[in-house]
Protein backbone atom coordinates (compact mmCIF):
# COMPACT_ATOMS: atom_id res chain seq x y z
CA UNK A 1 0.00 0.00 0.00
CA UNK A 2 1.04 3.53 -0.57
CA UNK A 3 2.32 6.08 1.92
CA UNK A 4 -0.12 8.12 3.92
CA UNK A 5 1.56 11.20 5.33
CA UNK A 6 0.60 14.22 7.37
CA UNK A 7 2.72 16.99 8.81
CA UNK A 8 2.27 20.35 10.46
CA UNK A 9 4.28 23.06 12.12
CA UNK A 10 3.02 25.42 14.81
CA UNK A 11 4.40 28.63 16.21
CA UNK A 12 5.66 28.56 19.81
CA UNK A 13 4.12 30.77 22.48
CA UNK A 14 7.50 32.41 23.08
CA UNK A 15 7.62 33.39 19.42
CA UNK A 16 4.08 34.76 19.58
CA UNK A 17 5.05 36.83 22.62
CA UNK A 18 8.11 38.29 20.98
CA UNK A 19 6.20 39.00 17.77
CA UNK A 20 8.19 36.52 15.70
CA UNK A 21 6.91 34.20 13.01
CA UNK A 22 7.16 30.41 13.07
CA UNK A 23 10.74 29.60 12.16
CA UNK A 24 10.24 25.87 11.70
CA UNK A 25 9.58 24.62 8.21
CA UNK A 26 8.44 21.31 6.79
CA UNK A 27 8.07 19.95 3.27
CA UNK A 28 7.12 16.45 2.20
CA UNK A 29 6.11 14.64 -0.95
CA UNK A 30 5.16 11.19 -2.12
CA UNK A 31 6.57 10.39 -5.54
CA UNK A 32 5.47 7.56 -7.77
CA UNK A 33 8.46 5.92 -9.41
CA UNK A 34 8.87 2.87 -11.66
CA UNK A 35 9.95 0.95 -8.53
CA UNK A 36 7.07 2.04 -6.37
CA UNK A 37 6.39 4.97 -4.12
CA UNK A 38 9.13 7.08 -2.61
CA UNK A 39 8.51 9.09 0.54
CA UNK A 40 10.47 12.33 0.88
CA UNK A 41 10.37 14.64 3.88
CA UNK A 42 12.50 17.44 5.26
CA UNK A 43 12.11 19.50 8.43
CA UNK A 44 14.20 22.44 9.58
CA UNK A 45 14.28 24.55 12.72
CA UNK A 46 15.54 28.08 12.19
CA UNK A 47 17.80 29.25 15.03
CA UNK A 48 16.00 31.54 17.46
CA UNK A 49 18.77 34.10 17.34
CA UNK A 50 19.17 34.16 13.56
CA UNK A 51 17.65 37.12 11.74
CA UNK A 52 16.63 35.09 8.68
CA UNK A 53 15.77 31.84 10.47
CA UNK A 54 12.36 31.48 8.84
CA UNK A 55 13.69 32.12 5.34
CA UNK A 56 16.54 29.67 5.89
CA UNK A 57 14.37 26.82 7.13
CA UNK A 58 11.86 27.38 4.34
CA UNK A 59 14.55 27.41 1.67
CA UNK A 60 16.22 24.28 3.04
CA UNK A 61 13.05 22.20 3.23
CA UNK A 62 11.67 23.27 -0.15
CA UNK A 63 14.92 22.81 -2.03
CA UNK A 64 15.65 19.46 -0.39
CA UNK A 65 12.29 18.04 -1.33
CA UNK A 66 12.60 19.41 -4.86
CA UNK A 67 16.03 17.86 -5.39
CA UNK A 68 15.01 14.52 -3.89
CA UNK A 69 11.79 14.43 -5.92
CA UNK A 70 13.86 14.61 -9.10
CA UNK A 71 15.88 11.62 -7.91
CA UNK A 72 12.73 9.73 -6.98
CA UNK A 73 11.07 10.07 -10.38
CA UNK A 74 13.83 7.91 -11.85
CA UNK A 75 13.76 5.50 -8.88
CA UNK A 76 17.33 6.62 -8.20
CA UNK A 77 18.92 5.15 -5.10
CA UNK A 78 20.16 8.16 -3.14
CA UNK A 79 23.57 7.64 -1.55
CA UNK A 80 25.56 9.48 1.11
CA UNK A 81 27.42 11.48 -1.52
CA UNK A 82 24.15 12.80 -2.94
CA UNK A 83 23.09 14.06 0.48
CA UNK A 84 26.47 15.72 0.99
CA UNK A 85 26.14 17.40 -2.42
CA UNK A 86 22.65 18.50 -1.47
CA UNK A 87 23.95 19.97 1.79
CA UNK A 88 26.65 21.80 -0.18
CA UNK A 89 24.06 23.24 -2.54
CA UNK A 90 21.98 24.39 0.42
CA UNK A 91 25.04 25.92 2.07
CA UNK A 92 25.94 27.79 -1.12
CA UNK A 93 22.41 29.02 -1.58
CA UNK A 94 22.19 30.28 2.02
CA UNK A 95 25.57 31.92 1.56
CA UNK A 96 24.30 33.71 -1.56
CA UNK A 97 21.22 34.90 0.31
CA UNK A 98 23.37 36.17 3.18
CA UNK A 99 25.60 38.08 0.76
CA UNK A 100 22.53 39.52 -0.94
CA UNK A 101 21.24 41.04 2.29
CA UNK A 102 24.77 41.83 3.50
CA UNK A 103 24.46 39.66 6.59
CA UNK A 104 26.64 37.15 8.40
CA UNK A 105 25.92 33.60 7.27
CA UNK A 106 24.87 32.58 10.78
CA UNK A 107 21.79 34.80 10.39
CA UNK A 108 20.62 31.90 8.19
CA UNK A 109 21.26 29.19 10.79
CA UNK A 110 18.86 26.26 10.74
CA UNK A 111 18.83 22.53 11.39
CA UNK A 112 18.39 19.91 8.68
CA UNK A 113 16.46 16.64 9.09
CA UNK A 114 15.04 14.39 6.44
CA UNK A 115 14.43 11.06 4.82
CA UNK A 116 14.15 9.44 1.40
CA UNK A 117 12.38 6.11 1.75
CA UNK A 118 12.08 3.59 -1.07
CA UNK A 119 10.60 0.12 -0.96
CA UNK A 120 13.53 -1.81 0.43
CA UNK A 121 15.87 0.88 1.56
CA UNK A 122 15.86 4.27 3.13
CA UNK A 123 18.36 7.04 3.69
CA UNK A 124 18.14 9.46 6.62
CA UNK A 125 20.11 12.64 7.24
CA UNK A 126 20.39 15.16 10.03
CA UNK A 127 22.32 18.22 11.22
CA UNK A 128 21.45 19.63 14.63
CA UNK A 129 18.69 18.81 17.08
CA UNK A 130 15.23 17.36 16.58
CA UNK A 131 14.84 13.69 15.70
CA UNK A 132 13.76 11.16 13.12
CA UNK A 133 11.96 8.17 14.57
CA UNK A 134 11.11 4.95 12.75
CA UNK A 135 8.98 1.96 13.51
CA UNK A 136 11.36 -0.93 14.18
CA UNK A 137 9.31 -3.69 12.52
CA UNK A 138 7.84 -4.84 15.84
CA UNK A 139 5.44 -1.99 16.48
CA UNK A 140 7.75 0.11 18.54
CA UNK A 141 9.45 3.40 17.69
CA UNK A 142 13.14 4.05 17.81
CA UNK A 143 15.19 7.15 16.95
CA UNK A 144 17.50 6.95 13.97
CA UNK A 145 19.88 9.14 16.01
CA UNK A 146 19.72 10.59 19.45
CA UNK A 147 19.46 14.38 19.08
CA UNK A 148 22.63 16.37 19.00
CA UNK A 149 22.58 19.15 21.56
CA UNK A 150 25.57 21.01 22.86
CA UNK A 151 26.37 21.39 26.54
CA UNK A 152 23.38 23.66 26.93
CA UNK A 153 19.79 22.77 26.11
CA UNK A 154 19.42 25.62 23.68
CA UNK A 155 22.59 25.14 21.70
CA UNK A 156 23.00 22.85 18.73
CA UNK A 157 24.66 22.65 15.35
CA UNK A 158 23.39 24.14 12.12
CA UNK A 159 23.71 23.58 8.41
CA UNK A 160 25.74 26.77 7.88
CA UNK A 161 28.20 26.05 10.72
CA UNK A 162 30.86 24.52 8.52
CA UNK A 163 30.96 23.77 4.76
CA UNK A 164 32.71 20.46 5.42
CA UNK A 165 29.67 19.32 7.46
CA UNK A 166 31.38 17.59 10.40
CA UNK A 167 27.96 17.34 12.07
CA UNK A 168 26.05 15.89 9.14
CA UNK A 169 24.81 12.42 9.96
CA UNK A 170 23.69 10.11 7.18
CA UNK A 171 22.61 6.50 7.36
CA UNK A 172 21.14 4.01 4.92
CA UNK A 173 18.93 1.19 6.16
CA UNK A 174 18.24 -1.75 3.86
CA UNK A 175 14.79 -2.32 5.27
CA UNK A 176 11.14 -1.83 4.50
CA UNK A 177 10.44 1.15 6.69
CA UNK A 178 6.73 1.03 7.54
CA UNK A 179 6.40 4.15 9.61
CA UNK A 180 8.44 7.24 10.20
CA UNK A 181 8.09 10.43 12.19
CA UNK A 182 10.19 13.57 12.12
CA UNK A 183 10.01 16.31 14.74
CA UNK A 184 11.93 19.44 15.63
CA UNK A 185 13.49 20.46 18.93
CA UNK A 186 10.22 21.95 20.26
CA UNK A 187 8.78 18.45 20.74
CA UNK A 188 11.95 16.71 21.79
CA UNK A 189 11.34 16.88 25.52
CA UNK A 190 7.78 15.59 25.09
CA UNK A 191 8.61 12.60 22.90
CA UNK A 192 12.03 11.44 24.05
CA UNK A 193 12.82 10.13 27.53
CA UNK A 194 16.23 11.59 28.21
CA UNK A 195 16.97 9.37 31.17
CA UNK A 196 16.07 6.09 29.43
CA UNK A 197 17.35 7.36 26.06
CA UNK A 198 14.20 6.07 24.37
CA UNK A 199 11.04 7.16 22.62
CA UNK A 200 7.98 7.76 24.79
CA UNK A 201 5.85 5.18 22.93
CA UNK A 202 2.38 6.37 24.05
CA UNK A 203 2.95 9.63 22.21
CA UNK A 204 2.83 7.90 18.85
CA UNK A 205 0.30 5.35 20.12
CA UNK A 206 -2.30 8.11 20.05
CA UNK A 207 -1.40 9.25 16.55
CA UNK A 208 -0.31 6.47 14.22
CA UNK A 209 -3.28 4.08 14.68
CA UNK A 210 -5.58 6.73 13.19
CA UNK A 211 -3.32 7.40 10.28
CA UNK A 212 -3.19 3.63 9.63
CA UNK A 213 -6.99 3.51 9.64
CA UNK A 214 -7.42 6.39 7.25
CA UNK A 215 -8.58 5.20 3.87
CA UNK A 216 -9.50 8.24 1.88
CA UNK A 217 -7.83 11.53 1.06
CA UNK A 218 -10.64 13.20 2.93
CA UNK A 219 -9.81 11.27 6.11
CA UNK A 220 -6.12 12.09 5.76
CA UNK A 221 -7.10 15.71 5.31
CA UNK A 222 -9.07 15.61 8.57
CA UNK A 223 -6.07 14.14 10.39
CA UNK A 224 -3.85 16.77 8.84
CA UNK A 225 -6.10 19.44 10.29
CA UNK A 226 -6.34 17.70 13.66
CA UNK A 227 -2.57 17.48 13.84
CA UNK A 228 -2.36 21.24 13.40
CA UNK A 229 -4.89 21.79 16.17
CA UNK A 230 -3.04 19.37 18.43
CA UNK A 231 0.31 21.09 17.93
CA UNK A 232 -1.22 24.52 18.56
CA UNK A 233 -3.29 23.35 21.53
CA UNK A 234 -2.83 24.16 25.20
CA UNK A 235 -1.78 20.59 26.04
CA UNK A 236 1.38 20.93 23.99
CA UNK A 237 1.88 24.63 24.70
CA UNK A 238 1.93 24.02 28.44
CA UNK A 239 5.00 21.86 27.88
CA UNK A 240 6.93 23.79 25.29
CA UNK A 241 7.10 27.43 24.24
CA UNK A 242 9.16 26.73 21.13
CA UNK A 243 8.08 26.32 17.52
CA UNK A 244 7.32 22.68 16.80
CA UNK A 245 6.97 20.49 13.76
CA UNK A 246 5.67 16.96 13.49
CA UNK A 247 5.62 14.76 10.41
CA UNK A 248 4.05 11.28 10.38
CA UNK A 249 3.90 8.71 7.59
CA UNK A 250 2.73 5.11 7.42
CA UNK A 251 2.41 2.30 4.87
CA UNK A 252 1.84 -1.45 4.82
CA UNK A 253 1.01 -1.58 8.50
CA UNK A 254 -1.45 -4.39 9.16
Amino acid sequence: MTWRAIGQRAIGTAHVQSGKVCEDALAFQRVTSPDGDVLIACASDGAGSALFAAEASQLVTEKTVKVLCNYAKDAYVVRDVDIIMLAEELYDELNRRAALVNCALNEFSCTFLGCYIQNHQAIFFQIGDGAIVREDGHGSFTPVWWPHNGEYSNTTTFLVDDPSFPNLRITTLDQDIREVAIFTDGLQNLILNTEAVSVHQPFFGALFPWLRKSKTDEEIQILQQKLGEYLSGSLINSRTDDDKTLFLATRNFE
Partner: protein, 224 residues
Protein backbone atom coordinates in the same frame (compact mmCIF):
# COMPACT_ATOMS: atom_id res chain seq x y z
CA UNK B 1 -16.29 -1.86 9.99
CA UNK B 2 -18.77 -1.97 12.84
CA UNK B 3 -16.69 0.11 15.20
CA UNK B 4 -16.34 2.92 12.73
CA UNK B 5 -15.95 6.35 14.30
CA UNK B 6 -16.24 9.39 12.08
CA UNK B 7 -12.75 10.86 11.71
CA UNK B 8 -14.03 14.26 12.79
CA UNK B 9 -14.64 12.81 16.27
CA UNK B 10 -11.51 10.81 16.98
CA UNK B 11 -9.29 11.76 19.92
CA UNK B 12 -6.22 12.50 17.81
CA UNK B 13 -3.07 13.24 19.76
CA UNK B 14 -1.55 11.98 22.97
CA UNK B 15 -2.07 13.46 26.40
CA UNK B 16 0.86 11.40 27.58
CA UNK B 17 4.30 12.93 27.25
CA UNK B 18 7.78 11.89 28.21
CA UNK B 19 8.30 12.68 31.87
CA UNK B 20 11.64 14.43 31.63
CA UNK B 21 13.01 16.73 34.27
CA UNK B 22 12.70 20.25 32.92
CA UNK B 23 15.96 21.67 31.72
CA UNK B 24 17.19 24.15 34.31
CA UNK B 25 18.34 27.67 33.87
CA UNK B 26 20.51 28.69 36.81
CA UNK B 27 20.59 32.37 37.61
CA UNK B 28 22.74 34.02 40.28
CA UNK B 29 21.93 37.50 41.47
CA UNK B 30 24.89 39.35 42.94
CA UNK B 31 23.27 42.14 44.89
CA UNK B 32 24.93 45.18 46.34
CA UNK B 33 23.63 45.64 49.90
CA UNK B 34 26.34 48.01 51.04
CA UNK B 35 25.61 51.00 53.25
CA UNK B 36 25.02 53.31 50.29
CA UNK B 37 22.02 51.19 49.32
CA UNK B 38 20.21 51.94 52.55
CA UNK B 39 16.88 53.68 52.49
CA UNK B 40 14.92 53.84 49.26
CA UNK B 41 17.40 51.90 47.05
CA UNK B 42 17.37 48.74 49.22
CA UNK B 43 13.62 49.00 49.48
CA UNK B 44 13.35 49.21 45.72
CA UNK B 45 15.78 46.33 45.34
CA UNK B 46 13.62 44.19 47.65
CA UNK B 47 10.55 45.13 45.67
CA UNK B 48 12.47 44.36 42.49
CA UNK B 49 13.31 40.86 43.69
CA UNK B 50 9.68 40.25 44.60
CA UNK B 51 8.69 41.48 41.14
CA UNK B 52 11.33 39.21 39.64
CA UNK B 53 9.82 36.21 41.43
CA UNK B 54 6.25 37.14 40.51
CA UNK B 55 7.11 37.75 36.88
CA UNK B 56 8.81 34.35 36.68
CA UNK B 57 5.87 32.69 38.43
CA UNK B 58 3.52 34.09 35.78
CA UNK B 59 5.42 32.10 33.15
CA UNK B 60 4.74 28.36 33.57
CA UNK B 61 7.93 27.28 31.84
CA UNK B 62 10.15 29.77 33.62
CA UNK B 63 8.60 28.64 36.91
CA UNK B 64 9.78 25.11 36.23
CA UNK B 65 13.11 25.95 34.67
CA UNK B 66 14.68 28.95 36.30
CA UNK B 67 16.64 28.43 39.50
CA UNK B 68 17.66 31.50 41.45
CA UNK B 69 20.47 31.97 43.94
CA UNK B 70 21.36 35.21 45.67
CA UNK B 71 24.72 36.47 46.87
CA UNK B 72 24.69 39.77 48.71
CA UNK B 73 27.68 41.95 49.30
CA UNK B 74 28.62 43.95 52.10
CA UNK B 75 29.82 41.60 53.33
CA UNK B 76 29.80 38.89 50.62
CA UNK B 77 27.57 36.03 51.70
CA UNK B 78 25.34 33.38 50.19
CA UNK B 79 21.93 34.77 50.97
CA UNK B 80 19.98 32.00 49.23
CA UNK B 81 21.23 28.89 47.40
CA UNK B 82 19.64 27.68 44.13
CA UNK B 83 15.89 27.16 44.28
CA UNK B 84 13.28 26.85 41.59
CA UNK B 85 11.08 29.91 41.50
CA UNK B 86 8.20 28.44 43.48
CA UNK B 87 10.61 27.49 46.28
CA UNK B 88 12.40 30.78 46.19
CA UNK B 89 11.45 32.90 49.21
CA UNK B 90 13.81 35.83 49.37
CA UNK B 91 14.36 37.50 52.73
CA UNK B 92 14.10 41.24 53.03
CA UNK B 93 17.60 42.54 52.45
CA UNK B 94 19.09 45.20 54.64
CA UNK B 95 21.92 47.52 53.68
CA UNK B 96 25.14 47.81 55.63
CA UNK B 97 28.91 47.54 55.26
CA UNK B 98 31.24 48.12 52.35
CA UNK B 99 31.16 46.80 48.75
CA UNK B 100 33.30 43.62 48.35
CA UNK B 101 32.16 43.13 44.77
CA UNK B 102 35.17 41.04 43.73
CA UNK B 103 34.57 38.46 46.45
CA UNK B 104 30.87 38.27 45.54
CA UNK B 105 31.65 37.68 41.84
CA UNK B 106 34.10 34.87 42.71
CA UNK B 107 31.45 33.33 44.95
CA UNK B 108 28.84 33.56 42.17
CA UNK B 109 31.11 31.87 39.64
CA UNK B 110 31.79 29.08 42.15
CA UNK B 111 28.06 28.60 42.62
CA UNK B 112 27.26 28.12 38.93
CA UNK B 113 30.23 25.80 38.44
CA UNK B 114 29.04 23.56 41.25
CA UNK B 115 25.43 23.72 40.09
CA UNK B 116 26.32 22.56 36.57
CA UNK B 117 28.12 19.58 38.06
CA UNK B 118 25.00 18.77 40.12
CA UNK B 119 22.88 18.84 36.93
CA UNK B 120 25.32 16.61 35.11
CA UNK B 121 25.34 14.10 37.96
CA UNK B 122 21.53 14.03 37.98
CA UNK B 123 21.19 13.82 34.18
CA UNK B 124 19.35 17.12 33.96
CA UNK B 125 19.72 19.26 30.87
CA UNK B 126 20.50 22.90 31.47
CA UNK B 127 20.84 26.27 29.90
CA UNK B 128 23.81 28.55 30.09
CA UNK B 129 23.92 30.01 33.60
CA UNK B 130 23.41 33.70 34.08
CA UNK B 131 25.25 35.79 36.61
CA UNK B 132 23.69 39.18 37.12
CA UNK B 133 25.49 41.82 39.11
CA UNK B 134 23.44 44.73 40.39
CA UNK B 135 25.26 47.56 42.12
CA UNK B 136 25.01 51.23 42.92
CA UNK B 137 28.63 51.81 43.80
CA UNK B 138 32.29 50.89 43.40
CA UNK B 139 34.05 47.76 44.67
CA UNK B 140 35.90 48.24 47.95
CA UNK B 141 37.95 45.05 47.59
CA UNK B 142 40.40 43.90 44.94
CA UNK B 143 38.23 43.10 41.94
CA UNK B 144 40.80 42.44 39.20
CA UNK B 145 41.02 38.71 39.95
CA UNK B 146 37.24 38.46 39.70
CA UNK B 147 37.28 40.41 36.45
CA UNK B 148 39.79 37.92 35.02
CA UNK B 149 37.54 35.03 36.10
CA UNK B 150 34.59 36.66 34.35
CA UNK B 151 36.59 37.06 31.14
CA UNK B 152 37.81 33.48 31.28
CA UNK B 153 34.31 32.12 31.96
CA UNK B 154 32.77 34.14 29.16
CA UNK B 155 35.47 33.02 26.73
CA UNK B 156 34.81 29.39 27.67
CA UNK B 157 31.03 29.92 27.39
CA UNK B 158 30.71 28.78 31.00
CA UNK B 159 28.20 31.48 31.90
CA UNK B 160 26.83 34.80 30.76
CA UNK B 161 27.72 37.72 33.00
CA UNK B 162 25.68 40.90 33.04
CA UNK B 163 26.45 44.02 35.03
CA UNK B 164 23.54 46.28 35.81
CA UNK B 165 24.26 49.66 37.33
CA UNK B 166 21.79 51.55 39.41
CA UNK B 167 22.02 55.33 39.51
CA UNK B 168 25.47 56.21 40.93
CA UNK B 169 27.22 52.94 40.03
CA UNK B 170 30.84 53.15 38.87
CA UNK B 171 30.35 52.27 35.22
CA UNK B 172 34.06 52.61 34.47
CA UNK B 173 34.93 49.68 36.73
CA UNK B 174 31.85 47.71 35.65
CA UNK B 175 33.12 48.01 32.09
CA UNK B 176 36.41 46.46 33.16
CA UNK B 177 34.68 43.59 34.94
CA UNK B 178 32.00 42.69 32.45
CA UNK B 179 32.79 41.55 28.92
CA UNK B 180 29.42 42.93 27.86
CA UNK B 181 28.78 46.61 28.28
CA UNK B 182 27.21 47.30 31.66
CA UNK B 183 23.67 48.54 31.46
CA UNK B 184 21.87 51.18 33.41
CA UNK B 185 18.61 49.92 34.78
CA UNK B 186 15.47 51.89 34.08
CA UNK B 187 13.17 51.28 37.01
CA UNK B 188 13.15 47.57 37.84
CA UNK B 189 11.78 46.02 34.68
CA UNK B 190 12.69 42.43 35.36
CA UNK B 191 10.08 40.89 33.12
CA UNK B 192 11.51 42.66 30.10
CA UNK B 193 14.97 41.86 31.36
CA UNK B 194 14.13 38.14 31.62
CA UNK B 195 12.51 37.97 28.20
CA UNK B 196 15.51 39.69 26.73
CA UNK B 197 17.95 37.33 28.43
CA UNK B 198 16.19 34.14 27.44
CA UNK B 199 15.80 35.22 23.84
CA UNK B 200 19.42 36.31 23.72
CA UNK B 201 20.61 32.98 25.04
CA UNK B 202 19.45 31.19 21.95
CA UNK B 203 22.65 32.26 20.42
CA UNK B 204 24.01 31.06 17.19
CA UNK B 205 26.72 28.49 17.52
CA UNK B 206 30.09 30.13 17.90
CA UNK B 207 31.45 27.76 15.30
CA UNK B 208 29.76 29.75 12.56
CA UNK B 209 32.17 31.43 10.21
CA UNK B 210 32.51 35.09 11.09
CA UNK B 211 30.03 34.80 13.89
CA UNK B 212 29.63 36.91 16.96
CA UNK B 213 27.23 36.44 19.81
CA UNK B 214 23.94 38.07 18.98
CA UNK B 215 22.22 39.82 21.82
CA UNK B 216 18.94 41.51 21.33
CA UNK B 217 18.88 45.23 22.01
CA UNK B 218 18.00 45.72 25.70
CA UNK B 219 15.00 47.78 24.80
CA UNK B 220 12.56 48.97 27.40
CA UNK B 221 14.37 48.22 30.64
CA UNK B 222 17.64 50.03 30.15
CA UNK B 223 18.96 53.55 29.76
CA UNK B 224 21.98 52.78 27.68
Amino acid sequence: MSDYIPFEQIPFGSESFADNPEPRCPCVLLLDTSGSMSGVPIQQLNEGIATFKNELLSDPLATKRVEVAIVTFGPARLESDFHTVSNFFPNQLTASGDTPMGEAITMGIGLVTKRKQDYKNAGIAYYKPWIILITDGSPTDSWRGAAAQVKEGEAGKKFAFFAIGVESANFEILKEISVRDPLKLKGLMFREFFTWLSASMKMVSSKNPGSNINLLPPSGWSDL
